[in-house]
Symmetry: C2
Subunit: 319 residues, 2 copies
């Protein structure tokens, strides 16, 4: 079992696939393996790709992977789906198209779906990226389904975040204002062969010029580019990969990569600790007891503060 780490480090795809499964199933032993893998990770550039459903992200990712392959890279792809009843079907189709890449031994693709908490999905994504990184894949592309809070969380683990907008999706631009804007490093106008693509580009440029939230940000000096792509015609893809590589160089030279990594590591450690608290609660308090406690609070026989205090004591937090 131990040699899964060695085999993974030697580039064995089956060992990597096995590790991803261990992570997804939250096998406790995976932590020990991941701790070892951490020593060998940190070389890959992590590229996040987000945008509303229908923006053309999967097609774009497929073409970006091909361009990286042309440049001699081994590429990892993690497709993250916070589960949603609305878009599951469409998504599956996208993923099948992307699987065309899977015949290439230098491309490693895994889909991850949310089965539990949002925090759990972010943590699992981070761990899968770590495993791919240790296995020598670089870059690793993390693609999310939409632009909600779950997606923003997942994107926080990326180093270069691409926000993809299709022409005429004014709603998306609104969504960008709402939260994605703060994490975007590169804007991509997909389907740029459409007539209204230039208008979308102009709207994005306007949005960028108005944006004040970035001023306090770690990348004042990075001017967010807007790259026009038409993936099915393979237009703009080389330019997009150039932009990603420029952003990567910028992050290293400016020191922003170190700042960003430190923030990510701190957030990871804190999440691990909070997850441990949640697990301790699960181990200490049965569903039956929860029900009884909740009823006592709603009937005002006791109050939430005292119950929390008592449970904190039981999991060791409040000795």
């Amino acid at each position: 079992m131990q040699d899964i780490v060695e085999r993974l480090l030697n580039g064995d795809r089956r060992a990597l696939a096995r590790m991803v499964t261990l992570i997804e199933n939250e096998i406790p032993q995976s932590r020990r393996f991941l701790a070892e893998l951490h020593q060998h990770a940190g070389r890959a550039h992590i590229v996040g790709v987000t945008g509303a459903p229908g923006a053309g992200k999967s097609t774009l990712v497929t073409h970006v992977v091909r361009e990286y392959r042309r440049r001699g890279h081994r590429v990892g792809v993690v497709a993250v789906d916070p589960s949603s009843p609305f878009t599951g079907g469409a998504l599956l189709g996208d993923r099948i198209r992307m699987m065309e890449l899977a015949g290439d031994p230098n491309v490693f693709i895994r889909s991850m779906a949310s089965r539990g908490s949002l925090g759990g999905l972010s943590a699992a994504t981070r761990d899968v990226v770590r495993a791919m990184d240790a296995a020598g894949y670089d870059p690793i592309i993390v693609e999310t389904l939409g632009t909600g809070q779950a997606e923003v969380e997942v994107m926080r683990a990326a180093q270069s975040v691409l926000v993809v907008v299709a022409p005429g999706m004014g709603d998306e631009i609104q969504a960008i204002k709402a939260g994605i804007m703060e994490i975007a490093d590169i804007f991509v106008v997909s389907k740029a062969d459409k007539a209204n693509a230039n208008q979308t580009k102009a709207e994005l440029a306007m949005l960028l010029s108005l944006d004040s939230s970035r001023r306090a940000h770690d990348q004042d000096a990075w001017r967010i580019p807007i790259v026009m792509t038409a993936a099915i015609k393979d237009q703009g893809i080389a330019e997009l990969v150039d932009a990603i590589e420029r952003h990567r160089a910028y992050l290293i030279e400016s020191g922003a990569l170190a700042t960003r990594s430190e923030r990510q590591v701190r957030s990871e450690v804190q999440s691990l600790i909070l997850q441990a608290a949640v697990n301790a609660l699960k181990a200490q308090v049965s569903e039956e007891e929860w029900q009884r406690l909740i009823t006592d609070i709603t009937t005002r026989e006791c109050d939430p503060y005292s119950v929390a205090n008592e449970l904190e004591r039981r999991i060791g937090l409040n000795p």
Copy 2:
């Protein structure tokens, strides 16, 4: 100091104002007071009002409060602003307009701004609602600034959630799809004297008919109404208050109120415990030590899992 609880329960506004300040400043003693207040709370109906900036929420709330006053209610209002550089100015204006109500001794209004974490704001809002509830205000209206994740979190503590949409704000309808939909109990089309208000109503009706996410929800039997209001003409306000009261009656009769309260209480207890873990970490680990640990992880001298384990041990979680 103890008599603040007694005075508050007797309806003393200054005692309530004092309590809110204790909550906002996270004075540890406030917990003890809140535990007592909890016994006397639980009578108020908690109405959440959310919607994109510009939807006309504050004007609507002002008129809803007046209507409740006409019906003889004492009304509490909590205006929650997850801090945002974009809208601070506009918001202030809205709040000043709302303050016209503040001359009424049977209306209690407080604004709350995010100064720390999202979790902190939700918890403080919940505690302020509890204090107003114990002081005999009913209903208590919780208004948020926008429709982001912070707002959704705050809305989870409400019993009837109003989502306000202004005519022609197609972008908002998109935002509704993204997450607000799941928590809406009543839709309000504000500024219904505008020409395109009926179109907006039709769009919302379409959205509701398509929505499948509610099927697994606790309120299958509640058909979300769409209420048209023109607050400045005082049109539709009585109908809206009627709809809120119908929803309140529905929640009680169907048993959904109990289910909802239980879910809210459980979430509150869990949040309190996680907050205690965060506080324990703050007390145990200095900023200097954090920096050292983070650097050790980023330079691969140690790994996040081992660091988390060690810190869990130090705060008592992992003995």
